[in-house]
Symmetry: C2
Subunit: 268 residues, 2 copies
DNA sequence: CTGGTGAGTCACTCGGTTAATCACAAAATG
DNA sequence: CATTTTGTGATTAACCGAGTGACTCACCAG
C-alpha cells in the first residue's frame, strides 16, 4: 500500500470512529510528526492553518492529542497504543451505559406471534458469524454445517462446535477437499464430507456472481444460509426456524439426497 | 432512573456509537418490542413511519436488526449481547486498520527539539489514566504519587505499581486517612502517608471549584498533575519532563518540605 | 367496478453542522 | 520599528439529516 493510500485509510477509519475530517487529518499528521506546530500541520495535511487550532482542541478534549501551551503552540499525538486504549475504554463505557439503559427500559407487550414460519434477513460478516454461533450453542441433537469458503472456518467457530455436548451429532461439509482436510484437522469430533452440490459455486451467467457462504442446519428446525458476492466481503444471510418452514424442508431434502444418503431426516 | 430517561440515554449512547437519531430510536424501540412493524415502531418512537424503512435498512446492513420480508415487513432487534459483540468486532477491525495504516504511513523527519523544558496538556479521565500508567511503567528509581480522590485508585493502577521493579521506591499519599488505608491495603509495597498539603482541597471563593486529582512524580524528572472540577468527572492534566522544568522544581520543594522531611530530593 | 385503507417508495424542504475562506489583532522576529 | 508569524473570530458555502407530503401498489368492502 502506498503511503498516500495509507494516510487516506487512516483518516477514513478515524472518521468512522467518530472524528471529523479535520480532526482525523490532524491526528494522522501529528502521528507522523512526533511534534508539530499549526503551520507544519497545515502544510502536510490539507487542513487550513486557521482551523488546525479548533480541531486539535477537540482532539485534546478526547485525550488523543497533547498541547504545549507556548508560542507558537506545539502539538503532539498520544502514542498509538495509548490512543487505541483510550478509544477502547470509551467504547466499553458506552456499551455498558447502553446495556444498562436498555435493561432499565424493559420490554413492552410481547404481542405474541402465531407459530408461523418466519424467515429473517441479516447482513454483515460479523453479525452473521455471531448469529450462527448462537444457533450452534443451542444445538441439542444435530448440527449440519457446510462451508463455502476457507475464511469462514474461524477459531471462534471451531471453539463453539468443540464445546458442544457430546450428544450432538456434528456434520461439517466443505466445497473442496483441501477445506475438508482443514476442517477435519481442527474439528476431530465432526464427521466431514465434501459437498456434492453444485450451487455452492457462483452461478454462471446470472449477472452478479453470488456464491454460498455457509449453510447451517441445527436440530433440523433452524436454518441459516448466507451468500457472498464475488469480489467483496459483503455477506448476507437469511435464517429462520420452525419445522414447517419451507426452506427447512427443502434443505432437509437436499441434505438427505445429495449428501449422505444413509441419514434420512425424520419425516414430517 | 425512569423508563423515559433510560430510553433517552440509550438512543444517545447509540448515536455516540455512530448511529443516526432515527436509527438509534428504531433500535431502541425494537429492543423492547421483540418484533414489530413500521407502524408499531413509529408509534412508540417518534420516528415518522415513512422513515422507519430507511433507518431499519441501515441497521440491517450493520447487523443490528433482522428483517422479515413479508407484508407488512416485520423487524426484530438482534439480542443485546450479539449486538454489542458485533459493535465490538467493528471497533476492533477499525482499530486494526488504523494501526496498520499509520504504521504503513511511517514517520516524517523528527525535526528534533532542543532539550527545552516542555509542558503538555491532556484532557479526559481515561486518557490521563493511560498516560499516568505509561509514566509509571518507565519508573527506574522513585515514584511519588498523591491521590485526591478514592475513585482514582483503580485496579489498573495498583497492578502497574505492583509490577514495578523492586529497586523502585514507591511513595503514595492520600488526602484522607480512609483513602490512605485503602491504598496501604492494595499496595503493600508502597510507603503511604496523608498529604499535609491544603491545596488538594477546592479553593475557597475562586469561582469554579477545582480540586487536585492526582499528582505524580516519577524519578524526580517527570511530573503529572491533574485537576477535577467539582461536580463533574471532567479531568484535566498537565505533565512534562526534564530536570530544569519549573513545575518539577516546585513539586520537589513541596514534597520535601510538606510531606516527608527526612527525604530531601537531590539538590539542583 | 369502485372507493377506501394500509404498506412502501420517492421527492422535496428546512435547519443545523462542517468545511473552507477571509479579516484582524496580538505576538514574535530581526 | 517594520514585517512576518500566530491565534481568534466572523462569514460564506456545501452538505447531510430530520421532518413532511405525494404517489403507487395491493388488498378489501361495497
Amino acid at each position: 500500500m502506498s503511503t498516500d493510500n495509507a494516510l487516506e485509510e487512516a483518516t477514513e477509519v478515524l472518521q468512522q470512529l467518530g472524528l471529523k475530517e479535520y480532526e482525523a487529518q490532524c491526528f494522522v499528521g501529528l502521528s507522523r510528526l512526533s511534534t508539530g506546530t499549526a503551520k507544519q500541520l497545515s502544510e502536510i495535511t490539507d487542513v487550513p492553518r486557521t482551523r488546525v487550532y479548533d480541531a486539535v482542541r477537540v482532539l485534546e478534549a478526547q485525550g488523543l492529542v497533547e498541547i504545549q501551551h507556548s508560542s507558537p503552540q506545539r502539538f503532539r499525538a498520544v502514542p498509538l497504543e495509548e490512543a487505541t486504549e483510550t478509544l477502547r475504554d470509551q467504547y466499553e463505557t458506552r456499551v455498558d451505559r447502553l446495556s444498562n439503559a436498555l435493561r432499565a427500559a424493559g420490554e413492552m407487550e410481547p404481542k405474541d406471534e402465531g407459530p408461523v414460519q418466519e424467515m429473517w434477513a441479516l447482513s454483515g460478516g460479523e453479525a452473521i458469524a455471531n448469529r450462527a454461533n448462537q444457533l450452534l450453542t443451542n444445538a441439542a441433537e444435530e448440527v449440519v454445517l457446510v462451508l463455502g469458503d476457507d475464511s469462514l472456518l474461524t477459531d471462534e467457530l471451531t471453539a463453539t462446535i468443540g464445546g458442544l455436548d457430546d450428544e450432538v451429532d456434528v456434520l461439517v461439509g466443505a466445497v473442496s477437499e483441501s477445506l475438508e482436510a482443514q476442517i477435519q484437522a481442527s474439528l476431530p469430533r465432526a464427521t466431514t464430507f465434501v459437498s456434492g452440490l453444485e450451487w455452492f459455486r457462483p452461478q454462471e451467467g446470472s449477472g452478479d456472481e453470488l456464491s454460498i457462504g455457509r449453510l447451517l442446519l441445527v436440530d433440523r428446525s433452524n436454518i441459516l444460509v448466507s451468500t457472498i458476492v464475488a469480489g467483496t466481503l459483503e455477506e448476507q444471510a437469511i435464517f429462520g426456524g420452525g419445522f414447517r418452514n419451507g426452506l427447512i424442508v427443502i434443505a432437509r431434502r437436499l441434505l438427505s439426497q445429495g449428501l449422505f444418503p444413509g441419514r434420512d431426516p425424520r419425516e414430517e
